[in-house]
């Protein structure tokens, strides 16, 4: 998944689970059946898992643009500059005193 997809998946997960819990409790209370509440809730949890856990293509609609390997060679990683190296040696010298 991409970043947008992850955010979307997490939001869907929370909404689905809370809705399952509320629907299960309501149905169980109205029908006076504890077992019914458990069954509805279990069904809701399974449905949530099916929707949010696997890497569906729907969650990958804003894919990241990773740099092409051939492009990366044209822009090498910057070297550690002289300024920083001299300051670090200055620090070392002061420590030794």
């Amino acid at each position: 998944m991409d970043w947008q997809g992850q955010k979307h998946a997490e939001m869907l997960m929370q909404i689905f689970l809370v809705f399952s819990a509320v629907a299960a409790f309501g149905a169980g209370y109205l029908m006076r059946d504890f077992r019914l509440m458990m069954l509805i809730y279990a069904g809701g949890v399974v449905l949530t898992a099916l929707v949010t856990v696997p890497n569906w293509p729907y969650f990958n609609r804003h894919p990241l643009k990773w740099l092409d390997p051939s492009e990366a060679e044209k822009h090498p990683k910057p070297q550690v500059s002289n300024i920083t190296s001299s300051s670090s040696s200055k620090k070392k010298a002061s420590k030794n005193k």
């Binding site: 998944m1 992850q6 997960m13 169980g28 006076r32 504890f34």
Partner: protein, 170 residues
């Protein structure tokens, strides 16, 4: 949220927390159930009233009971344990409670019944104080829920007096 396993872990954790919440809510609503039950008990006869070999009084009797426990059941009730206690006072103990009969009711449909039974457990005193004693019969119940804490209650029923002298088995 980066891998499927992490998402599955998050979903399982939230699901478990919500499960605890709905069970707590179901248990909480039980507190608003105000039961109104009916019960009646009558001592049909005293089968045996004697002094045991180790010195304690013992009474066995036949009871005729009718009760309606349906209002104790909610959707969150697993079973109701009901027992009949004989309560009386002696010189050494201000309150003696002895269970004479008990029953487990697991379904609301079977919560209303009448029985005529000999006592399951004899009334055995700590001593020899039962001759002529006035004994009160109290119905106790424990409601065991599917989720939540157990609820106890009791209801005093009729009184009766034991004979002044020991009887032999009739």
């Amino acid at each position: 949220m980066h891998s499927a396993v992490q998402r599955a872990n998050t979903a399982a954790t939230i699901a478990a927390i919500l499960l605890a919440t709905i069970c707590a809510a179901a248990s909480f609503l039980d507190a608003f159930n105000s039961p109104s039950l009916q019960a009646h008990v009558q001592v049909v006869k005293i089968n045996r009233f004697r002094r045991q070999l180790d010195g304690n009084d013992e009474v066995k009797m036949t009871l005729k009971m009718s009760m309606d426990l349906t209002s104790l059941f909610t959707w969150n009730t697993k079973q109701v344990f009901v027992f009949l206690a004989a309560e009386y006072e002696t010189d050494t103990n201000s309150l003696n409670q002895v269970s004479l009969w008990d029953h487990i009711v697991q379904e609301k449909e079977r919560a209303s019944f009448q029985v005529k039974v000999p006592t399951k457990y004899p009334l055995i005193d700590q001593g020899t104080n039962l001759r002529g004693k006035k004994v009160g019969l109290v119905l106790h119940w424990h409601i065991m829920p599917i989720s939540g804490r157990m609820i106890q209650g009791k209801m005093p029923l009729s009184n009766f007096s034991l004979p002044d002298s020991y009887t032999t088995r009739s």
